[in-house]
């Protein structure tokens, strides 16, 4: 739920108690007075809302990783966002935005999902490691190019255009995978691991899948 919530406290206090001419309220039917009070109470309940912007102190954290990132596809996304409102024939709001941004799809292997070596005692090693997968789909904010923005009758919110980018991430990842990103990432990861093991004295490196 997005939106500022504001506490409004309505105070009702007779302001004119000391005034002699207004010391007596005008005569009204009791039922009407009760009805008015009831309606006022309903109105107060409808207007009252809480303001509790709880900006908790942000923490930073660190964690250990064992991730090989071995391939990347970069997409250029031209994004259009438009929102127009009208009352009868009058345009009350016209918001339009056109910008471009790069999306990076990176793939590789998370060794924490299972990486194991089994030497065969004869200079060879069986390597068990997980398959490559898409590790991250992320926008590159430095690549943003804003073509134009029109904000008549209202400004464009940060969550509006970021939401429009979130919608395409799955499509971008699927396209990258369809174009062979995962096989490229897995091949590069195997090359890297095989090179490391060969440098470390292993004569034959065999990749045997995910589980020993």
């Amino acid at each position: 739920m997005m939106g500022m919530t504001i506490v409004t406290v309505m105070r009702t206090r007779p302001r004119n108690v000391a005034h002699p001419q207004l010391s007596r309220p005008p005569r009204m039917h009791a039922t009407c007075v009760l009805l008015l009070l009831f309606l006022a109470a309903l109105g107060l309940l409808a207007c009252r809302s809480e303001s509790s912007i709880d900006i908790a102190r942000i923490e930073s954290r660190i964690r250990m990783l064992a991730e090989l990132e071995t391939a990347e596809s970069v997409y250029r996304d031209i994004v259009y966002f438009g929102d127009a409102r009208s009352f009868l024939f009058f345009r009350t709001m016209d918001r339009r935005l056109l910008f471009a941004v790069n999306l990076h799809v990176r793939a590789g292997i998370d060794l924490a999902e299972g990486f194991h070596l089994r030497p065969d005692g004869d200079g060879g090693v069986d390597v068990f490691m997980p398959s490559a997968r898409v590790l991250i789909v992320d926008t590159d904010e430095q690549s943003i190019h804003q073509y134009f923005v029109r904000e008549q009758g209202g400004r464009i919110g940060y969550l509006e255009f970021s939401g429009s980018i979130e919608e395409v991430k799955d499509r971008v990842a699927s396209d990258a995978v369809a174009r062979g990103l995962l096989s490229r990432a897995e091949e590069n990861a195997r090359v890297l691991v095989a090179n490391l093991l060969t440098i470390a004295g292993v004569r034959e490196v065999r990749f045997a899948g995910g589980q020993p």
Partner: protein, 275 residues
Amino acid sequence: MKLSAAAVLALLSTAVAAVVLGLLILRIPTELLPQALSVLHREQRSGHELLLTEVHDLYRFHTVEYIYRSVFPYDYMAPHLSLASILRSIRAGSGSIADMLNEEEQRYLDAYNISLQAGLRTDTAAAEFVVVTVVVRAGFDLADTVFARPHEATPEELSSVFSVEEVHNAATGARLRIARMTTPPAVITDLRVEDVNPETYPYPDVSLSPDGWRSIAQFVRERARSETIGDGILRAAEQNGHRLLETLLLQLGYDRVELRTGNPGLSHENAGFRD
């Protein structure tokens, strides 16, 4: 001549009926009629045009991840400072602004200026803010090293990266095989501003253009880089990376592993690592 309300209403109704009939006679699409006749109308549209521009091979080994989160601009505007006090310092001093202000004041001024450019209201009445999350990863970039392209390395380069020493243990009579490996220094391998998902972002929306967001993201990114490096992320990355490599080499049958940091780059490459 004054017209009564009823007469005005009648005229309007006649005009609308005439328009509708006209549209029908001219065979203009009548599905537009509800839209034209509706009192309130809203039209939203969004579109994307995606184009694959680049494909890269990467050889990054991430060993540590550090989540840096900040509230822009208030995390960079110390409460004991104010714009008035900073401007006073500038007026009283001489030389460049960087010389007149300390780091805290400079950070305050930068955050204030970026907020102004981006359209974020920082006065107490509005108090707009954005929570920015930066994911900082560190480890080893192996792209220009012998680990990525050993076939391009000279024998001397290969032997400087890895060597094995056999030591005779006089007490036990066993022969110990000690593996020595050189790794590149740990570097920041990835620094990205996490994209906000409106469905999970719990804070109020703010009026911000993509240009404004770019400025804010760049500012926070640079602060995240310097602060995490200062906090020792590179040391942690190196330690964890060495721990992982030690485990791997012990699995190969070596009795002891010694890892050191050096330059296992290829001699014909400019093997400069990112900071």
